[in-house]
């Protein structure tokens, strides 16, 4: 598998590590309440199709990336720097479908 890091270009997946769903970027406030925290920490979609994930280019430029990947085909639809990516998952899933 290869990921096109926006800074380094296309690189072998061994340079990256995976964290999980990109909704981790949308860190809730301390008052967000039990439901919000439960959603943030535990509840994950398991889509057969595009999914937004956080990858860390630890053996490269140390950028955190938001990778939109199709779980059916393994096709990578987009890669963006986490610092440029929207924090909310909803906005971006639509972006990936567009």
């Amino acid at each position: 598998m290869r990921i096109a890091c926006p800074l380094c270009g296309e690189r072998d997946s061994r340079e990256f590590s995976y964290k999980g769903a990109a909704l981790a970027l949308g860190y809730p406030s301390e008052e967000a309440g039990f439901e919000a925290w439960d959603d943030y920490l535990h509840k994950r979609d398991n889509p057969a199709g595009p999914t937004r994930e956080l990858w860390y280019h630890g053996s490269g430029c140390t950028a955190w990336l938001v990778v939109t990947r199709n779980t059916m085909t393994h096709e990578i639809l987009s890669v963006e720097l986490a610092e440029d990516a929207p924090e909310s998952a909803q906005e971006n899933t639509q972006g990936a479908n567009a």
Binding site: L7, C8, G9, R11, D12, R14, E15, G58, S59, G60, C61, T62, A63, L81
Partner: protein
Amino acid sequence: MIDLVAISPCEGLLPLTVGAVTLSEPEMAPLALVAPMKGKEASLAKAMQAAHGLEWPAAGETSKADGAELIWFGRAQALFVGAEPSAKLAAHAAVTDQSDAWTRVLLEGAGARDVLARLCPLDMRDTAFPVGATARSEVFHMQASITRLGDDSWHIMGFRSMAATLVHDLKRAMESVAARTQG
């Protein structure tokens, strides 16, 4: 007063030559990581140009001037090599001394690229990695910085504490390449 002795990361390990390829350790040089503060990228580039005559390198690039060079070193940072960085840079960037943090080695000679191809997943063809290009990647299991100095000349950096492993892994690959060219 105490007289402390300075020891380079590869002391006792290098230089070594296998076949046509030589691995050596350059003289210890000042190293400083320069990371522009938020929104100060442009002013840092200007200050760098004014103080050292160096272009701020884009991702994957290096720039050189008299006595110093800048190696792109990852997201929002470059490594300043070969001189003490001007104090004026600190107004625009986090400047951190890294002179003792890195093992630096030079891999040179015909087949040097083949040696690296045994350890590093980068595309190192001339089209993808011309002289002057740099990358952060891996040398076998280690994080590394790799810069192409010439057709057959590469500057490789790994963590100081991993000097022995860096030399071990490179030596093994050098032997492999040499055995094939002799055979």
